[in-house]
Amino acid sequence: MWRLDARYLSLMPTTTLSPRTNTARSTTIALKLLMAVTGLVFVGYLILHAYGNLKALAGEEAFNTYAHHLRTFGEPMLPYGGLLWAVRIILILSLIGHVYAAFRLWSRAGSARRTKYAAVKTAATSQWMRWGGVFILVFVVWHLLHFTIVKISPNADKQGAEITANPYQLVVASFEVWWMVIIYVLAMVALFMHLKHGFYSAQQTLGLTGSPKANARAKTLGLGVAALIVVAFLIPPLSIAFGLIN
């Protein structure tokens, strides 16, 4: 078997054999696929995260034991915190992919229509996805500072080493502060809007909605998954804020 070398192309009598420069990977749809797959990784993680949070309803010991088990999971096959770090690495890679694809497509959309309409309102959904996504990104940074890295405890009476070593106490102390609750509720509103469209959109991008019926079902599923995750996330902080847990 010989292969056609590009050098000889100019010697060919016809130009029917032009070298192919088009690939599926170089398209905007490939960027969307990256967005969809990384988004689904986040949905999977959010479900696990929300499940862990609900342990707060089972009391201090159950919650703290769960937090401890996250680190000892898989021992002795895995090192201490091994699974946790594996998950974190997957999340960081997904975040890079998701944000990269989002900004590439966002900037593309901007240059695809430089002159705006005088009389058209931009669809609210696209604003929620983009600016909502940026808000969620900022929130995630704050959330990591709050609970993972610095362990900010804004509740002055309860500051101290005792709290930072006790995840349950850190959570309770945090959500007894009203503005902390507001930050988290706002983030959940943004998350709901993002997931509602995002989960539907991922199914559409993966090509799973090839009929009007499947398309409508995917929309309902997006709404359902978004509602389920956000309600599960809201239960613990609101229970603390309204004094059901203390």
Binding site: S26, T28, L105, A112, T115, A119, L206, G207, S211
Partner: protein, 250 residues
């Protein structure tokens, strides 16, 4: 319904490189039975009589089947009804209303003049792969390649696309995915479309991106604006075909 008086704000632009602006016109005694384009014809006759330059807009069949006309009317592609601009009637508007008329806005559809845009980008997308290669000669027997009813129906539904560009005009990202999805679905559902299926989707999407259209974010403004009601699931089909082509090493 009595005749109407309307205020029109119309985009005027002398040429591709010129700066355009919205110009306000008044039209009086407009019959509610006129089509939107006939109303513009009336205005143009008045402008002609005054020695002013008439407003340039595209139209051809005026039966809603050719896809030539298309205006952004008060923020809606083809106006408030689900039809083409030529089949939109003035009874859809209220007496005394102010109507803003703009051309399709997309860098891939450069403005030629006033309300006329160049939709050659759509032609180039079709040229890149939106066809089947068939030998010339006697037509094959119509029964030679059986097509299941549901596939034939979906292919016909997708083939209804008239390439007017309303999907691009309405899309917040100025994406041409509904147009492309319609063509991919149309040919992909039929046996004749199979041999070139993977190459077609890869070439068309690359051409689409090369023309400067935006990416799809599945908002659905395109289907809402489409005068033929092409649904969102053709975009899902497009995405699936691209993913399959990727898997097959394209």
């Amino acid at each position: 319904m009595s005749n109407m008086n309307l205020t029109l704000k119309i985009w005027r632009q002398a040429g591709p490189q010129d700066k355009g602006q919205l110009v306000t016109y008044r039209v009086t005694d407009i019959s509610p039975d006129m089509s939107f384009l006939e109303m513009l014809d009336v205005l143009n006759e008045e402008l002609n009589a005054k020695g002013e330059e008439p407003i340039a807009f595209d139209s051809d069949c005026r039966e809603g089947i050719c896809g030539m006309c298309g205006l952004m009317i008060s923020g809606h592609a083809h106006g408030p009804e689900k039809t083409t601009t030529c089949q939109l009637h003035m009874r859809s508007f209220k007496d005394g209303e102010t109507i803003t008329v703009e051309p399709w806005r997309a860098e891939a559809f450069p403005i030629v003049r006033d309300l006329v845009v160049d939709r050659g980008a759509f032609d180039r997308i079709i040229q890149s792969g939106g066809f089947i290669s068939a030998n010339t000669g006697a037509a094959p027997d119509a029964h030679a390649a059986p097509v299941p009813k549901d596939k034939a129906d979906r292919a016909f539904m997708a083939a209804e696309c008239i390439g007017c560009g309303a999907c691009v005009a309405a899309c917040p990202n100025a994406s041409g995915m509904l147009f492309m999805g319609a063509k991919i679905t149309h040919l992909g559902e039929l046996p004749q479309g199979q041999p070139e299926r993977d190459a077609r989707v890869v070439s068309m999407v690359n051409q689409h991106d090369h023309e400067g259209f935006g990416g799809c974010t599945n908002i659905g403004e395109c289907s809402t604006a489409c005068p033929k009601g092409i649904p969102q699931d053709v975009i899902s089909q497009l995405n699936k075909d691209l993913r399959t082509a990727m898997k097959n090493g394209r």
